[in-house]
Symmetry: C4
Amino acid sequence: MTFKDAAAAIAAAGRRMDAMGWVPATAGNISVLLGADRMAITRSGRHKGMLAPADVMLVDGQGASLEPGARPSYETLLHCGIYRRFPGTGAVVHGHSVANTVLSRRAGAEIRLAGFELLKAFPGGPTHDTEVAVPVLDNDQDIPRLQAVLDALWNRTSDAPPGYIIRGHGVYVWGADMAAAMTRLEALEFMLLCHLEEGRHTR
Amino acid sequence: MTFKDAAAAIAAAGRRMDAMGWVPATAGNISVLLGADRMAITRSGRHKGMLAPADVMLVDGQGASLEPGARPSYETLLHCGIYRRFPGTGAVVHGHSVANTVLSRRAGAEIRLAGFELLKAFPGGPTHDTEVAVPVLDNDQDIPRLQAVLDALWNRTSDAPPGYIIRGHGVYVWGADMAAAMTRLEALEFMLLCHLEEGRHTR
Amino acid sequence: MTFKDAAAAIAAAGRRMDAMGWVPATAGNISVLLGADRMAITRSGRHKGMLAPADVMLVDGQGASLEPGARPSYETLLHCGIYRRFPGTGAVVHGHSVANTVLSRRAGAEIRLAGFELLKAFPGGPTHDTEVAVPVLDNDQDIPRLQAVLDALWNRTSDAPPGYIIRGHGVYVWGADMAAAMTRLEALEFMLLCHLEEGRHTR
Amino acid sequence: MTFKDAAAAIAAAGRRMDAMGWVPATAGNISVLLGADRMAITRSGRHKGMLAPADVMLVDGQGASLEPGARPSYETLLHCGIYRRFPGTGAVVHGHSVANTVLSRRAGAEIRLAGFELLKAFPGGPTHDTEVAVPVLDNDQDIPRLQAVLDALWNRTSDAPPGYIIRGHGVYVWGADMAAAMTRLEALEFMLLCHLEEGRHTR
């Protein structure tokens, strides 16, 4: 895939996420892997729902900018951590929703989703057809430290689901390509909306 | 109707359903009857909100593919079951909404909707002007078995409503053509949203 | 205003109402007064969010069709009742929302809205700057009888607000022209959404 | 920036606010500073989601019209108060949301938002990374008096957040330019939606 195509796929994903309210206020980020040591990722401070090709930059496998003078978003390292851990990953999406924000703020170490047909589109874990435990990590401005917590979590988890939530700081979801990542994101956010609704008090 | 027109109608319906959030993560499916033994139906794994003509395939009355090498969605058999049971049906739509997912997960064998003017657009049953009982079936990965449960239900129901819900797995709605199916789907989903709201705890 | 312009204004209003979810399943209707005895109104059974010019018809001041063979929506008489009662009215809009449906189903004879700045855009009654009592009428398939109840209500109300709700059957709002009617509709629906939210149980 | 460019930026912001439901029924207003004594601002009574260039007018630093015969919105003085108080401000946006309306109606003198990553996009106060106190002012039809209350509040607040809410009458948010103002508005409204959700009663 060329950088131009990657930037277009990223912009299209950003528009869909924006239509759902998932990239408010320049939050969120989206990346596509272009090679062993090359990733296209959204620049910091740009509104992810209104991306132009110039709003996407190139970084290497360690998240260092391949563009002189440009500083990548500090969350770039979380994208690198995913590509490193899960070979075959081609795209990573990060967004904030009211559901993932509110649910993670009241959750412990995970959010369990069970009994949804849509779990088929967001698998993970030994009973992946019927239940998924989505990890919830405490927010941390020290990104390498946060990534270390993730790596330790993945070390002790077999069949980790393709996503995690940072408490009050949105969700990260990935897939083999952008379509797969977006499908998984939509599935997870739909189930979180249902979970949020089911937690509301009824008559 | 030609296959080309059917594919266009299916894509348009998919876009409206997507705008409502009813076809997340490649879930859902949409079909149009083209003849006694020919149906156009969405392919599995394609996002129903962004369908191209190539995302629609032809199957026969038993749900077998009329396209060499193409495997239909396993839910195709549910569409066949509807066309077989209700002659005059021209289109079937299947989608997931937060309302139909959450309500069916807490429901018993049916969801009763009463007193809505919109019942006029989603009729069924002896008191169809004032109340409808929407069947809720347990989810089942064995589709022929699920269809048998539906057929038994319809055998003992006079004036069945033109829809049913599979617990945690969305709604199936049908009509004489796509416009009729979509009208009924919109009416049902609107009433389910009201029903969901009325179940929330108030002061 | 020509019929062509009226049909265009009606279609544009329908699209905005549809974007808000206020005209589901061919429900709702929209009219524009063209003269002392001529009104353009949406045909029954057409989706009000996707109106073509052919989906609008002409009726006279009593709601009788001016188009040979065409039968107007039975709700046309409610539009006539408004134009007759409130000279200076140029447009009437009727839609269903989850808020107006759910709130009217649990309301008595009226819904009181107070303390909203948006009341400026939906006036009515002696304390119209600070509170409005929106009438809620029981639904009735006998439209002339329903209109008689409305006329009696308006006979005993000074400064009636420019709208009313039919229990479980949506809202009717009017104004000097389509822009005014839509402004009032948006104001009312916004306040109803706030009212609905304020009725939900909190911690 | 030319008046033409300012009007275009204002119209674009209005469309985004309208898509979010934040400018119902001609409510809301949007301005851009063009010079020490020149501001482009939306005219009163125009729908802020459907602005044409003619719907924007010029006023001076005291809010007096620079267009013969045109009367500015009375809320123009609140925009002037912000530009005067916060040099470097280039744009001000004012909208109504269900969240800011409902929350301000039940709040005291402020709404505290804490623990959201999005606080980075809506800073203010000594602990601005972790908590912001958004001022809530009582509504007042006497705008100069309301502005005096704001000035007194700002006199005793260090690091005031770039926004405030008028009880039942929407939010005012500002920034160095339109993009900054809109980013802050989106951040605030997102956090208010989360705050509203967290106040709902749960099981």
